[in-house]
């Protein structure tokens, strides 16, 4: 297989599985638990290394996955003592576990074939070289098998428990009342996050896993209100940022995982600015439109109540608006034929009176021509 293809496939699998579980993390406001898990699986990986003496994927997935769940348990244990708030519990647990991992690596560097920097930003560039053997036969790059398997597991998890996850995410009380245990689902989800993180760890490293978990899902959250669509969009955005990131890394001759994280950020920025419904631009335009409609209605109401014949400067003073702003309102209303100029002032036309009569107290609904 082409090395480039292997890298892209691995990155695509990582991005897709991260986006699937990340969607639920973002919706449940637990992104930082994902961050914590991504750090604290490190000692699990190292211990699995030391015990088995090689990089066989299964013990590593299990060891690190177990540590991910331990992290969640520890955070909840600290929480439940009521001596620490949740943010602080997270903030004390994962650095301790991560430190443990770093120390283990430093102490047993000769036995553990793990580079500290790679812990942070992965070594996806070497994915094509690290192949998996069955007996003596090479069956393909290990990272692809691992992350493909993880993606399959995660997709299965989401597909099978879709209804339960959806309900417990949006209405945990109802889910509990209907007999789905939110706690069990919580731990299942955390296990899924752990497995995803461990699979991705070697390829993109601890911190960039967080980017893949959180950022595409957050961007998708700005683009849709439907869970199914959000999952699809998150996966799409994740895979797109993997591809874009790879291109960027080639162009700059820089870290692939870092570039992918950068790309997720860029896509989020686009969604943040341009999302048709929740984007800054759409929001600004909407605010402007609503503001205009409000001002137009105010002016029409004022004219109907006998403010006829006043000149623009006097009106501006009465409303406390800027002169130009008022002139804009007047211009738009005049072009619709709702008001007309008489002498130095303005007054309502019959069609304007009918319009304001028909609108009652609700805002004027019209589109700009």
């Amino acid at each position: 297989m082409q090395p480039t293809l292997v890298i892209l496939l691995v990155a695509g699998c990582v991005a897709a599985s991260c986006a699937l579980v990340g969607t639920f993390l973002v919706l449940r406001q637990m992104s930082l638990l994902g961050d914590a898990i991504s750090h604290s699986v490190l000692p699990g990986i190292v211990i699995a290394f030391l015990l088995t003496g090689d990089r066989s994927p299964l013990p590593m997935l299990l060891g690190a996955g177990a540590l991910g769940v331990v992290t969640v348990l520890l955070v909840e244990l600290f929480n439940r003592t009521k001596r620490l708030k949740e943010d602080a519990s997270i903030g004390v647990v994962f650095p301790a576990l991560f430190s443990l991992g770093v120390i283990l690596i430093a102490r047993y560097a000769s036995q553990v074939d793990l580079d500290l920097d790679c812990v942070l930003y992965g070594e996806i560039a070497y994915a094509p070289l690290d192949v998996l053997f069955v007996g003596d036969r090479v069956i393909g790059p290990k990272a692809l098998w691992v992350n493909g398997g993880v993606l399959l597991l995660v997709a299965l998890f989401v597909a099978l428990l879709y209804k339960e996850l959806k309900l417990s995410t949006f209405d945990p009380a109802l889910a509990g009342a209907l007999g789905f245990s939110p706690l069990l689902l919580h731990y299942l989800l955390m296990s899924a996050v752990s497995i995803t993180v461990v699979g991705a760890f070697e390829s993109v490293g601890a911190i960039l896993v967080v980017a893949m978990l959180v950022v595409p899902a957050a961007a998708a959250h700005l683009l849709t209100d439907r869970l199914g669509l959000m999952l699809t969009i998150a996966v799409g955005l994740g895979v797109t940022s993997a591809l874009l990131g790879y291109a960027l890394a080639r162009a700059l001759d820089a870290s692939i995982a870092g570039s992918m994280a950068t790309a997720t950020g860029a896509l989020f920025a686009l969604a943040f600015l341009l999302s048709p419904r929740y984007g800054m631009l759409a929001r600004g335009l909407r605010n402007r439109r609503v503001g205009r409609a409000m001002r137009e209605q105010l002016l029409l109401l004022h004219l109907r109540r006998g403010g006829d014949g006043l000149a623009v400067p006097q009106l501006a003073q009465r409303f406390g608006w800027s002169r130009q702003g008022l002139e804009g309102v007047v211009g738009r209303l005049r072009s619709r034929g709702w008001i007309e100029s008489v002498g130095g002032g303005i007054r309502l036309t019959p069609s304007g009176a009918a319009t304001i009569e028909a609108s009652g107290q609700s805002p004027l609904r019209h589109r700009d021509p």
Partner: protein, 427 residues
Amino acid sequence: MSLELSFTARNVLLGASLLGVVGGVTGCFALLRRQSLLGDALAHAALPGVCVGYLLTRSKSPLPLFAGALAAGVIGALVILAVVRWSRIKEDGAIGMVLSVFFGIGIVLLTYIQKLPFGNQSGLDKFLFGQAATLLPRDLQLMALLGGLVLLVVVLFYKELKLLCFDPDFAASVGFPTRRLEVLVTLLLVTVVVVGLQTVGVVLIVATLITPAAAARQWTERLSIMLLLAGAVGGAAGAVGALVSATVPRLPTGPVIVLCASVLLVVSLLVAPRRGLLWALLEERRAARRIRQENLLKDLYGWQERRHGDWFDLIPWPMLMGVRGQSQTQLARLAAPLERRGLLARIDGGVALTQKGFAAARRVVRKHRLWELYLARRLELPSDHVHRDAEVMEHALSDEAVGLIERTLGYPELDPHGRPIPREDAA
């Protein structure tokens, strides 16, 4: 271990203790404002700033690198604020996003720099996990300057920061510039991040902020003491971590500091007076024992009341064993401390109330019956529903509360079951 420290070890010790003190003090504000992970995000966000600082000046002198980190940290904080304010993404998502994306950009720049002809020996990667051994006196000077500045600001704005932590709404209502104070806290955090870059690196700085503060929080309810303690815990963890990593080969300083602080936190969580978990466990057991003792006294009282006998007569063990299904050994163990306090007298084969014990038992029964009557009369509960609640309240009500209940009920003679309610002792 020799007491003579090498030049490097001395620098590491100084740097780590300094960072510990400054981080601990500043972390208190992040902890109390429930922004523990903001520090983490700011630390990660500093990485691209360091790289840009290096790219612009191509020098490893600390000032431009620190300036870059400061600027990037501030931008990261602003992005978090903007995303939370102007989108439906919540704070956790915004923090996770800034943390990982800024770090990603930092990694891109870092790997880019390393491949530049002049970037080979940039040594910027020491900012990832820190490399305390590379601390030079000029780095220490800058750290001391920034750290001193942080502590000075904390002292100068102590009152304002305190109000911001505990009652921001009130602070705003009396005209404190809360917005600017929030920015100030963020700036303090970023400065600590910059101070810690070289010693523990961007990844673990959050622990130098939060862990000592969380440990200190367990020992006190006062902010001033908490700040001092957090500084002490942080400083101690830094010093011990530096010494340990200097003595044992292949032990990275940053992680050792973090683990030291974590150990101090766990110890604090367990043994800190009042808040400590062991303390709470002890308190719980003491309360349970007091309840069992009060129940025994009450049982003795009830026994004599039913018998219409003398209050101070001997009651044989077997009679008492029936009441709550306790064995004779259990009862004897329960009675022993009461006897020492002069409330009971143990005589062969049984136990009897003393004058003092009788008064104590009366107080418990009085609380029980008055509460039953209160529930029955005032809350109109049926009289067969009040006993269980009174079993609990008899151990919890204060003498004053019971006196008030008695007065409200008009000094009643009998409880809902028709048994006499003991009056308060004249003595």
